[in-house]
């Protein structure tokens, strides 16, 4: 075995090299997916999209829930929040005359991770 090959297969080089490669890959992934886009839908008690509902995002800190952003849903009940540097947050939707959704907590793997709600926020739930 050549000296260079032996050096490359040294367990210290392999372990720390692998760790460095994982960290680098993770940072590349984060850099390309951290626009802070949070998208979702709001539906009524009957499951139909609700336009004009207000969606509020609150960031969960160590001690409190801090309001960060508010947005109104579009024609098809969809909403999009951008530039949200949060990793642990709560979403709540409400509309006059229809009701409010329960506060739902979400967790992300890094701040600003692009995220689409897996299920819509249901008003009057």
């Amino acid at each position: 075995m050549s000296a260079a090959r032996r050096w490359l297969l040294n367990r210290y080089v392999v372990v720390f090299g692998t760790i460095a490669a994982v960290i680098f890959s993770w940072n590349v992934y984060v850099a390309t997916h951290d626009d802070g886009r949070i998208a979702g839908m709001v539906v009524g008690p009957d499951g139909r999209p609700v336009p004009g509902a207000t969606v509020t995002l609150r960031e969960r800190t160590l001690t409190t829930l801090e309001p960060r952003a508010t947005v109104r849903t579009g024609e098809r009940g969809e909403f999009l929040l951008t530039g949200q540097r949060v990793h642990h947050f709560v979403l709540e939707a409400q509309k006059e005359g229809v009701g409010a959704s329960p506060r739902t907590a979400f967790r992300l793997y890094f701040r600003g991770q692009n995220f689409t709600l897996p299920v819509p926020l249901r008003l009057g739930g």
């Binding site: 800190t61 001690t63 701040r111």
Partner: protein
Amino acid sequence: MGRYPTWPVHAGLIAVSALMLTPFYWVVRTSVTGDNIFAYPPALLPRHVHLFYFVDVWYYIPFVRFLVNSVVVSLIAVVANVVFNAMGGYALTLPFRGKRAVVLALLAFMMIPFQATIIPAYLITKELGLLNTHLGLALPLCSTIVGIFVFKAAFDAVPRSLIDAGRLDGLGDGQILRLIMLPLSTSAVATNVILSFIWSWNSFLWPLIIVRNQEMQTLPLGLSTFLSYLENTTGALYAFCIMVLIPGVLIFVLAQRQFIDGLTSGATKA
């Protein structure tokens, strides 16, 4: 040899190992589930595994700052231990008047707990102007008597003929130490590296006393700060413990053979 089956011994060792690893398993399990450790009945297998508690630790506290402080302090301690302990160990292999008294004194000093010397250590560090600095954090761990004796045992095992040959070639004591002793004592070096790294990495009391602001806190101090923030941090707290433990465990696992060799070198000499 070979008359008795070995499986009962292995079974016993596996059982004891499992017993000793149970607390570690519980820490890992809680860090990825957040389950309350006091839940009854306790669930052995984790459910709803996720890594979000590690993310919480990363963002809720200045983890990177604590990590950098711990790494810098540990590096200073490791380098200083290898250099100073090697010099001390080499000195103890040379003949000089009062050597036996010095060895006995060092052995006796090992019995003095650090807590007993912490006030003089603090005053010395203060006089040197090193309070709240990385060097000040590493200062009491820059040389340890155990490390000196590890080097002494390793250097005693080096054939005198090699040292005499070096002297004939005109080498001084520093060169003999650097060019002959240390290359032939890699196990002792590894032992010093691991011991000094783990001691400085886990050090809590000394940083607690000399650190004045959060910017200089190390990981164990950060852990106690984290504990004081919030009650309901079960999962995040254990995730923090794992993140603090990983570097020490990694270093030990990678160099465990040299570590064991270094601790046992000289043990079988007459």
